[in-house]
Subunit: 328 residues, 2 copies
Amino acid sequence: MKIGILGATGAVGRQMLQCIEEQLPECEEVRLFASERSRGKTAKWKQETLTIDVLNEENVQGLDYVLGAVSASLAKEYAPLITGAGAVFVDNSRYFRLFDDVPLVVPEINGEDALKHHGIIANPNCSTIITMMAAAPIAKISPITKIIASTYQAVSGAGIEGMRELTEQVKAISEGNKVEPHVFPAQIAYNCIPAIGSEQEEGYTSEEMKMQYEGRKILHLPELKVTCTCVRVPVYRSHSISFSLQCEEPVEPEQAIKAIKAFPGDVYADDFLPMPLDTSDQDLVYVGRIRRDLVFDGGLAVWCCGDQIRKGAASNAVAIIRYLHDHL
Amino acid sequence: MKIGILGATGAVGRQMLQCIEEQLPECEEVRLFASERSRGKTAKWKQETLTIDVLNEENVQGLDYVLGAVSASLAKEYAPLITGAGAVFVDNSRYFRLFDDVPLVVPEINGEDALKHHGIIANPNCSTIITMMAAAPIAKISPITKIIASTYQAVSGAGIEGMRELTEQVKAISEGNKVEPHVFPAQIAYNCIPAIGSEQEEGYTSEEMKMQYEGRKILHLPELKVTCTCVRVPVYRSHSISFSLQCEEPVEPEQAIKAIKAFPGDVYADDFLPMPLDTSDQDLVYVGRIRRDLVFDGGLAVWCCGDQIRKGAASNAVAIIRYLHDHL
């Protein structure tokens, strides 16, 4: 197995390299691609030193898969080169996610969709993956019709720069210096910023609408309605989501908890609180505080946390390759 | 006008002293009360130096009002002494809030309830006050039937000790030292803790149920259903709440925005994001991001922020005295 990583220098790209080592022991070669600016830089993988290059028609040859951790516009631009060379493109950008002929996959939930690909498979939005990992076992009991969600999103959602900005702001404040936001629209240290992504559709942001549109596609529930409010909080890694859901039929908390415990990739926290700090840098989604919802008749209130760089991005993408390799 | 503050050394008690100076120019005497441990300590008020004492049958004489910023058990213990001396007890603890003969008051919403007191008036829970300040103008358009809320609560909700704990943890981490939580059940720096208060009623915490029970009483909507998830975030002051609501009749976002703009004590943020950092240490509740809800037919999604020590506690209590004084 030979894999390329497009966007190898970012937080997600670096994590992908590590996840390949963890999840794909049969991978014998990795090639790292990034922008011109990073050409010639190196990275360690197993015992090897890999040199970063710019993706082109020559160096794409022979790859089985390319993992994409670049912007939507770069994903669009490079996709024909990748698929033209016969590699499957597993892309983490939003660009292909809602294309009819592109599967949008969380392997534990709808892995079988990946098998129907035409050269491109999309990796869902980070908060959407984590929320759907908590919701999917419940949707198997009875189809979910409604979700109202509020997110608590870590600064790593804005990559390495986002993490650096939080560190620098905390330091500046402790030294009595002024804080100038660059990555986020306002100071994130000791603050919450209630908007992520660009505004669209009657005041909802792009990030907020992803949970409805991508959630529908992942769960195969085209009628699912989702109200989502996305909020950035001063946490480094691991997104948290508080949500209420209603299914077609009433679901008891005990049924949901049992289903979550049996679902691969989920942990139900019976006797502790899932928190971002404890769920960082690992691949499982932690679910807790399942309560009978007081508004949705027969519905449930849920809290969940998962590492957004891993399960919300890199490890989910690598798990798609794992799934394809095991099932084709 | 003569006012006593019971619990004068805490974050809320100190803020009450400042709010009296700001909101009650007719107040000619303030007496500060706290525990034995603080007896003899002093505090500045206007040009005076006030000495803290333990409340007793003598020093309560002649007071018109006593503001309570102590625990439920101390509020219960001292109430007979205060009302027996003819002072009105405006209590910030949870103890009296749901008593039938005790008004639970946010002056801008249900000030007239305060006039029917029998010696005790209760100040609502902090997140409840801030949420209801955003919801009340909408409830006037059409009665609210359902609220699903997630909170982003500042460490000041746990008083001065909570604020100190965040500062000390950030410092310890920056120096590479281990963090030991004392006030909160886990590290709060760079984390979110999804539970506030003791657990009760099918997994909801005491803090979460307050929004339903107190919200019903403040809005005069005994059938109101509220699902609330309370989350502590690493912010010093100002609680934020993300919520969806449904009314008996559909409400358009424009109607709600107009009503909020016309409501005393509220600011609607047309062209900026209400954030805890910008709404700290002032008395207004900032509301923003009103969107047509995608789950509740004819409902709305709302974001709001307010300073929990001021509007969520001290200044609301002082405003109750202001209201009584102006209307009796």
